[in-house]
């Protein structure tokens, strides 16, 4: 992969920055089938969370039965925890190889150069004269950490977005705590690493994260990020539409959906005041005044309608 990086750089305007981005896209593209499988499995697990929570609640005291029911549910749904992890484990060596290749090609000290020379292919003579590669890309020196600190922010931010999209919604407090920790720990950790490592590596991480976000969006949507947005929208909606309830004297017959009971009470009292017998009052509505029957009919008409607000 080192030699591929070097030769590709020669074709891509001698820009190692563009080479890093292009190779990341190519490698992620080749790994897409595995990535898709992983994301789908992850999405499946997320969708099972409510049912899994029910099982945990139901069999809180019987671990064996709980485990059995969980496995049965997953088997029935065709979802497996290994479906999330296995593709990632398979992809890991590729990512590590790409990371190590970038580090090696960005040789900065004489020791690193000598080490690099051992990895060049004798049968590719052009790679010998292409090294060292130009390390300038935009504001970055790819061989050194970013002094403007933009890359740590980009790495941490993109990773946070990716993690948020992947975070499953769960009612289990323990899992919620773990998810929250993962959501913040990984991005902060990688942002810290970015302070120490060559910005070429940070560029690779940012490119890889963005590709992951795009893939995830098309496969499983915004995930946890959507919930965050929806939650914000709901709050905004509540703030803009909230009005104080109208005073009781201002209510009209059209407000019967909520007010018919109020109207019926005076009728009952009227009936009593008219001196009608208790038996009539116990007639379950037939002895009541028409106003109640009117109100009841109105309430059925207005069923489902919200009363008008003033």
């Amino acid at each position: 992969m080192i030699n591929v990086l070097i030769v590709l750089s020669d074709y891509l305007f001698n820009s190692f920055g563009i080479t890093i981005i292009v190779l990341t896209v190519v490698v992620r593209g080749l790994m897409f089938p595995l990535t898709r499988r992983q994301l789908k499995a992850s999405k499946g697990m997320q969708e099972l969370q409510p049912k899994l929570a029910e099982i945990r609640k139901k069999y809180a005291r019987d671990r064996q039965r709980r485990a059995k029911e969980e496995m049965a549910l997953m088997k029935q749904s065709g979802v497996s925890p290994a479906g999330c992890l296995l593709p990632m484990v398979i992809q890991m060596p590729v990512w590590i190889a790409l990371y190590q290749s970038i580090i090696r090609v960005l040789a900065a000290t004489p020791e690193e150069f000598l080490n690099l020379s051992r990895h060049l292919y004798d049968s590719w003579p052009q790679v010998f004269s292409l090294v060292p590669l130009g390390s300038k890309f935009l504001w970055l020196d790819l061989a050194t950490p970013d002094t403007m600190l933009l890359m740590p922010i980009l790495v941490g931010g993109s990773m946070w977005v990716q993690q948020k999209m992947m975070t499953p919604q769960t009612a289990d407090p323990a899992q919620q705590a773990q998810s929250r920790m993962m959501l913040w720990m990984m991005p902060l950790m990688f942002a810290f690493f970015t302070l120490q490592f060559p910005s070429g590596l940070a560029l690779y991480w940012v490119a890889s994260n963005i590709i992951s976000i795009v893939m995830q969006y098309f496969i499983s949507g915004w995930g946890g990020l959507a919930t965050m947005f929806k939650g914000g929208q709901r709050e905004a909606a509540q703030k803009t539409t909230k009005r104080p309830p109208p005073a009781a004297a201002e209510r009209t017959a059209k407000d019967a959906g909520d007010a018919d009971i109020v109207e019926s009470r005076p009728s009952l009292e009227e009936g009593a005041e008219d001196g009608k017998g208790g038996d009539q009052r116990q007639d379950r509505g037939r002895g009541y005044s028409d106003s109640f029957g009117t109100a009841k009919r109105q309430s059925r008409r207005d069923k489902g309608r919200r009363p008008k607000r003033r």
Partner: protein
């Protein structure tokens, strides 16, 4: 999941793979009379008596520099200044350039190195790291730095006289001949610069980076390049005299970089290569006469002792390091293995005329008899030595 994250973080931090290197240095040394001056890998200047290897005074530690730790996983054993260029002794002063971009001069008198430097180059005078060696004349100190400039300092007090900017880094040691400095850079160019005022005389372009020190002999400059060619350039005009290999159709052409400095002797150029061969070329025409196949990369500059070319190779085989020292007879074309030191060698070899001194990457200094191959090991730190 948490365990997986930790494994990833350790791998990335370099603990598990050890991929990310740091500047360690590999300075050679110089011999004056019966004293050897060596730059150790602890960032110290050591003065030794060559007769028995005893230290002459306390080693001088160069000013420490901060290192990033990555949670302490990166090696931090050496917090001192890495020294790649060999110290130079001239008129009582020992000059040394450090990776921190500073040049220092220490007085050697009454058999001892003075701890306080006579002078240190001024802050801001030099940008970048100094990886190549220094060349010192009576009045000036010349060197290249990784900021792409060639510098000239006053040898007496260290103030900057001039600098010559270029587009690439300089890792090679300059060569001085008459009033001209010759030096190769990362921009694939060989420069000829006026030693008095830093003005450019000519520039010769190759197809690869140059880290090898140029050699001047008989009005011609010889230099090896990363493009796997050796060039002979007229020292006055800057015109190419010849290039080896002349064409890509030649057989058994060099496979690796020309990293180590070539040696010119008796009308022949001996050019060591990282492919493990020393190519013997006719100095006038560039025709390949012969080659020595030593079997392992050669990154250390060889030395000539009478008719013997002493060369060090380095390899790592199944975690076992090898540092083989060969004697190549330039007259008979015979090669002989003198010693396998068992330690890597990148530092340039140096000699007092009969004995060759080898500074290894484990910070050992070996003195090897070129006739018999017998060696003595000297201590540069408290841990090494017999």
């Amino acid at each position: 999941m948490l365990a997986l994250v930790l494994v990833i973080s350790l791998t990335i931090s370099g603990c598990a793979t050890g991929v990310r290197g740091i500047a360690q240095g590999w300075a050679g040394g110089t011999v004056s009379g019966d004293t050897a001056f060596v730059g150790s890998m602890e960032g110290k200047i050591v003065a030794l008596a060559v007769s028995d290897g005893s230290m002459l005074g306390e080693p001088i530690k160069l000013e420490a520099q901060a290192t990033s730790s990555g949670f302490g996983c990166l090696p931090t054993g050496s917090a001192a200044v890495a020294v790649y260029g060999s110290p130079v002794f001239q008129e009582g002063l020992v000059y040394v350039g450090g990776y921190d971009g500073k040049v220092r001069a220490f007085l050697f008198e009454q058999g001892r190195l003075r701890q306080e430097p006579r002078w240190i180059s001024r802050q801001g005078d030099i940008g970048g790291n100094i990886i190549g060696g220094l060349v010192v004349t009576r009045e000036m100190v010349y060197f290249g730095a990784s900021d792409g400039k060639v510098y000239a300092l006053d040898a007496v007090d260290g103030h900057k006289l001039w600098d010559y900017p270029s587009e690439g880094k300089f890792w090679s040691t300059p060569a001085v001949s008459g009033d001209t400095i010759f030096i190769g850079g990362f921009d694939r160019k060989l420069y000829a610069i006026n030693a008095a005022d830093g003005s450019e005389k000519w520039v010769f372009e190759t197809e690869g980076t140059i880290v090898s020190t140029p050699v001047v002999s008989g009005g011609t400059v010889y230099v090896g390049s990363f493009d796997r060619h050796v060039y002979a350039v007229d020292a006055t005009s800057g015109e190419q005299v010849w290039r080896y290999p002349a064409s890509e159709e030649e057989v058994n052409t060099p496979i690796g970089w020309f990293w180590a400095t070539p040696v010119v002797h008796n009308g022949e150029v001996y050019a060591p290569n990282l492919d493990g061969r020393v190519y013997v070329l006719d100095a006038a025409s560039g025709r390949r006469i012969s080659d020595f196949d030593l079997g392992a990369p050669i990154s250390s500059a060889p030395v000539l002792v009478n008719d013997l070319l002493i060369v060090a190779t380095t390899s790592t085989n199944r975690s076992k390091q090898r540092g083989e020292i060969f004697s190549l007879n330039t007259a008979s074309r015979q090669q002989k293995l003198l010693q396998d030191l068992g330690e890597s060698v990148h530092a340039p070899l140096f000699t007092d005329g009969s004995t060759v001194y080898v500074h290894t990457m484990k910070d050992s200094l070996f003195a090897i008899d070129t006739q018999t191959g017998a060696s003595r090991k000297f201590a540069l730190t408290a841990e090494t030595g017999e």
